[in-house]
Symmetry: C2
Subunit: 239 residues, 2 copies
DNA sequence: CGAGTCATTGAAATTACTCAACCCTAGTGG
DNA sequence: CCACTAGGGTTGAGTAATTTCAATGACTCG
């Protein structure tokens, strides 16, 4: 498992150009490492956090609960990703952050982060850019859930997860971890769990993708991508 | 009509705290004022802009077109708002920016903006925060289009537009400009124009809201808000 | 006046949801 | 070692929301 500093370097290197000095400065960032059980809230709506998080092990997600109890998952985050950098400048949380599986998370005080950002303007640019790429991904989720029918939306999400995992070396043999239940998948795509189940069967029978036991197995990326109308441009990957 | 500097001050004051010196520095920002006819693209997917925009008059929107020709409107922007500040750190446009009505737009060179951001760290914080609030709004659009049925989603969008207009003094007598066609409304909510038409009738007959001729008339904000499960927290309004 | 755009309506088809039951598997405690 | 349980996962049938298609109406602009 990576340290907070190393994980940050890996992640930010996917987002923008870092000099050797930048990387050294980022590695100097200290934080507290915590382990949470699965399905545990880490931050809640209304919180005023004084630290940002980085996933070191396991998976986390962000979500909101509607008035009627409906949950909308707004993002998934795998190791090295930073689910709440935006708290640097947004005072109140407007969503919840929770673990999906048991997860080890690094908590970095804003003051500690700011120290490096003021010292190194380029790191500030890259961290800012990171928050903007998050926004770009959210926009794509909006497009996905608003315009695509269920099977295409699901294919699109699978393409994204696989591509992001690949960017940080978390794939092997066309598979990657995606340890979410069908219900959580439903809450991210804005459809019901029953419909997810049936849609998964369609994708499986078309021999495009297999999703079982928290493992995503992409059997035909090309056709999955075509079905999903997936273009990774919006991920703004630098690596 | 406001100047670029004055409009920026009005907008950024909604986002965060600005000192007198900050405001003076922002007012010193120069840009080019351009007028576009309605329904005209201002930026396109793949562009590498070297300037950011601020709406001075009229309305603009951001949108993407899917493989099958489906358009997803991702945001609307009224006067004083800044639809593409994120281009400061995101090199390639991943969506289009277009006018809705005839519009007058201020174009600010990134170099000019950076000049003030490096001089005044607090302005940088507020501008960064602005881009994060955009992200927060996008997340709410995701929730809206993913979890709410058509009439609630539409009510929610109306609440948001009215609230944002109110924040910058663009409402009078429970009305505000919202000069979009039913088709564009459909493309923002992710439903068909036909369904928009019928849903509008429902809201109108319930005496909640009237939407005609580009004017939004909120007849009962309380009930509209209740129907939409609208909580303005996500707008992170500072004023 | 005519062309074009936007709004409205109706009916049929499709997609997705609801509800309720059943299955499967991993983990638990006796 | 086995029965029990709980949390997914799967299935079927009926229902509701939304789309599609096609036609008509209203309004604006040149």
């Amino acid at each position: 498992m990576l340290s907070i500093g190393d994980a940050l370097v890996v992640h930010l290197a996917c987002v923008g150009e870092l000099s050797t000095e930048d990387k050294a400065a980022i590695r100097s960032i200290k934080g507290e490492v915590r382990t949470y059980p699965k399905q545990r809230d880490v931050m809640r709506v209304g919180d005023k956090p004084d630290e940002s998080m980085i996933v070191l092990k396991g998976h986390v997600c962000r979500y909101t609960i509607g008035h009627d109890g409906a949950r909308q998952v707004q993002s998934f985050h795998m190791p090295t990703e930073t689910p709440c950098l935006e708290t640097l400048h947004i005072d109140y949380m407007d969503m919840n952050l929770a673990t999906v599986t048991e997860a080890t998370i690094g908590a970095i005080k804003h003051t500690e982060l700011q120290r490096v950002l003021t010292e190194r303007p380029n790191v500030l640019s890259v961290v800012w850019r990171e928050t903007l790429v998050q926004g770009s991904i959210t926009r794509e989720w909006l497009v996905r859930n608003s315009t695509l029918p269920a099977h295409a939306a699901m294919a699109h999400l699978f393409c994204e997860i696989y591509t992001r995992a690949q960017a940080v070396g978390l794939t092997r043999d066309m598979t990657c971890d995606f340890p979410v239940s069908q219900e959580m998948l439903a809450d991210s795509l804005g459809i019901t769990a029953v419909h997810v189940n049936r849609t998964l069967q369609v994708l499986r029978e078309a021999n495009l993708v297999q999703f079982k036991g928290g493992l995503l197995w992409v059997k035909d990326f090309e056709r999955l991508q075509a079905l999903a109308d997936f273009d990774p441009l919006y991920l703004h990957l630098h690596c």
